[in-house]
């Protein structure tokens, strides 16, 4: 079966006063129908830019290029803005990190839910309203009818995020892009919201592209994972394979620096990755991680090969990186 979303060679460049920033550098990945792909990386690695690029929501100062970009079998790279707008909120939807400011304070929840359905499906007010109630109940907001008439400021952060999810699902999309949906929420609400996303995927068969910096979230939700660093995908595998045996030194470093309940022995020192992310302005060559990698050597400054082992891919000059050296 062809993948729902197929991305090949996606590049996003940003024009800044100091030069061109290469935010996303030639990345490729696929998402199959009904599966969850997590895009993991730290702030500034380009994961949000990737999501915006897919939706066509990049700022004017950004340029997007791709070798191949297909969604639901149709080309996504060369569509008109109009066509893209008809897909957004309809076939593919996105929810953002900050639920407190994501809803228009001047209109009711109901108004904002209903308008997207009427826009894409041309439905009547009554039909759209029914759908809105159906979805509010699906995301666990009851009594739905009452909530429709409320304004965003009358809801808590967790509730607003649920409304955002409901709003994204109004037109029955096949792909839901979630950009750090739980980062701004309380820990207990985080768990609830993730639970909700899992349920929705199971019940509605929606594919989810979940963007996060939190490996804990990945562990809970992901079927497949792509690790991003400095604009590139450095490792890509199923969640199980990634956690079992991370290949890329960066991924290893990430895993070593967070305690995993049940795996990290008590009393063990947590690792950290020395150095900082390099600047992506101007020409960038070779492995972006080499200044921070304990195993880097001369060939790392040239083009780095993409290795694959049993559907587990990673980008490294070394075929096999030794187990943690004393750091």
């Amino acid at each position: 079966m062809a993948p729902l979303l197929s991305v090949s060679g996606l590049t996003v460049d940003l024009a800044t006063p100091r030069g061109t920033l290469h935010a996303v550098r030639d990345i490729s990945f696929d998402i199959n129908a009904g599966e969850t792909l997590c895009l993991v990386g730290e702030s500034g690695c380009g994961k949000s830019m990737t999501a915006l690029a897919l939706m066509g929501l990049l700022p004017n100062s950004a340029t997007r290029r791709a070798r191949h970009l297909a969604f639901e079998g149709g080309d996504l790279a060369n569509v008109t803005p109009r066509k893209l707008a008809s897909l957004r909120g309809n076939r593919m939807a996105m929810i953002f990190q900050e639920p407190m400011t994501a809803l228009n304070p001047a209109y009711t929840i109901g108004d904002q839910l209903i308008e997207v359905h009427r826009r894409h499906k041309g439905s009547t007010y009554a039909a759209a309203r029914e759908r809105a109630i159906e979805l509010l109940e699906k995301v666990g907001i009851t009594p739905a009818g009452e909530r429709l008439g409320q304004f965003p400021h009358q809801l808590s952060g967790g509730l607003r995020q649920r409304v955002m999810i409901a709003m994204a699902l109004m037109c029955g999309p096949t792909l839901l892009i979630a950009d750090e949906p739980t980062t701004a929420l309380d820990v207990t609400i985080q768990a609830q919201t993730l639970r909700l996303l899992i349920d929705i995927q199971r019940d509605l068969g929606v594919a989810i592209l979940l963007i996060t910096h939190d490996l804990g979230v990945v562990a809970r939700v992901a079927q497949r994972v792509a690790v991003m660093y400095a604009g590139e995908i450095v490792e890509s595998a199923t969640a199980a394979s990634l956690f079992r045996k991370p290949r890329h030194p960066y991924t290893r470093g990430l895993m070593a620096s967070i305690p995993i309940p049940g795996r990290t022995p008590p009393g063990e020192r947590l690792g950290s990755i020395p150095g900082i992310v390099p600047s992506l302005i101007g020409e960038v060559r070779g492995c972006a991680f080499r200044d921070r990698c304990a195993f880097a050597f001369a060939p790392c400054a040239e083009t780095v090969p993409w290795r694959v082992d049993n559907e587990h891919g990673w980008r490294c000059t070394l075929p096999e990186v030794p187990a943690e050296a004393a750091a």
Binding site: G275, I276, S279, I281, G282, E283, V284, R285, D291, A301
Partner: protein, 299 residues
């Protein structure tokens, strides 16, 4: 060879803040044009006795109503023509710049001092002082400036200094508001309270901190008030309740020319354009300073 990375340490490479400011100033077209225009008017006013071809008050009834140079009957002796009393228009325009600039400057200074003092007091002392000052500001805002100015001038008699005083005593509100806000902001800074706790002299700290921060805003307000004062004086003089003849106030010149408007429109157009250009220059400079000192706010 080939480039690779930026070195591991994050270097802040770039021009210093002073050089950055200079660059912003010199690439801001509005600021440059406005300042040049303003400088020209200023020079014109200062060098008036040297550059004016005639005495602005000298009447010559045999030379009445001569049109400017570019008209049929124009003459080089009177480049901008003469008015209904035979006075050279170019000279009157040049001397008129003095009046407008004087008004703008004097009102700006007087109202600025009053407003800044009130604002500083309100922000620094807070509490009752703040309430009183805010009340004053509200009262002042409730008064229609031009009507009050007209009424006072009518009672006291019109003259340049009366106008300056009245406007100066009326136009301090924006200064007060800006100063008050800035002072309050500084006052709540942690290190000011800390300094006060150690017995350091807080008034001096506040003045030393507030002034540099609030200066750009004050300059913008000053430019707005100066421009407004110039236009108000022109309006008052136009209505006959401002500067008195034979002073060459541009507003007064328009009033005097109104009777001849239909046949000699240039009598009105010339001082009117002069007013517009001066106010334009001041506004451009004010806007420019605001843009240059807060580049992140630029739309």
């Amino acid at each position: 060879m080939n480039e690779s990375y930026a070195p591991p340490l994050l270097e802040v490479v770039g021009p210093t803040s002073g050089a950055l400011l200079r660059r912003r100033i010199f690439t801001h077209k509005g600021l440059l044009i406005g300042s040049t225009l303003l400088a020209i008017v200023l020079l014109m006013a200062l060098l008036a006795p040297l550059i004016a071809p005639h005495d602005p008050y000298a009447q010559d009834l045999t030379q009445r109503m001569i049109p400017p140079l570019w008209y049929e009957n124009g003459t080089w002796a009177h480049v901008l023509g003469t008015d209904n009393l035979g006075r050279d228009y170019l000279s009157r325009v040049i001397y008129g710049a003095r009046i407008s600039l004087l008004i703008g400057l004097a009102v700006m200074v007087i109202s600025g001092l009053i407003g800044a003092a009130l604002g500083l007091a309100a922000g620094y002392f807070g509490g009752r002082t703040d309430m009183v000052v805010t009340f004053f500001i509200t009262i002042r805002l409730a008064m229609p400036v031009i009507l009050v100015a007209l009424a006072v001038v009518a009672m006291v008699g019109g003259s340049l200094w009366v106008v300056v005083l009245v406007l100066g005593l009326l136009k301090w509100d924006r200064f007060a508001v800006v100063m008050r806000a800035a002072t309050q902001q500084v006052r709540s800074l942690d290190y000011v309270t800390a300094a006060a706790a150690t017995g350091a002299s807080t008034p001096r700290i506040i003045v030393a901190e507030v002034l540099p921060n609030v200066l750009p805003q004050l300059i913008v307000v000053a430019s707005v008030e100066a421009a407004s004062a110039i236009l108000l004086e022109a309006a008052l003089s136009f209505l006959g309740l401002g500067v008195q003849p034979p002073l060459p106030s541009w507003g007064l010149m328009i009033a005097e020319a109104k009777a001849y408007m239909f046949f000699s429109f240039w009598l009105i157009a010339i001082p009117g354009t002069a007013l517009a250009l001066l106010v334009l220059a001041i506004n451009m400079v004010g806007d420019g300073i605001r843009d240059v000192s807060a580049p992140s706010g630029r739309g």
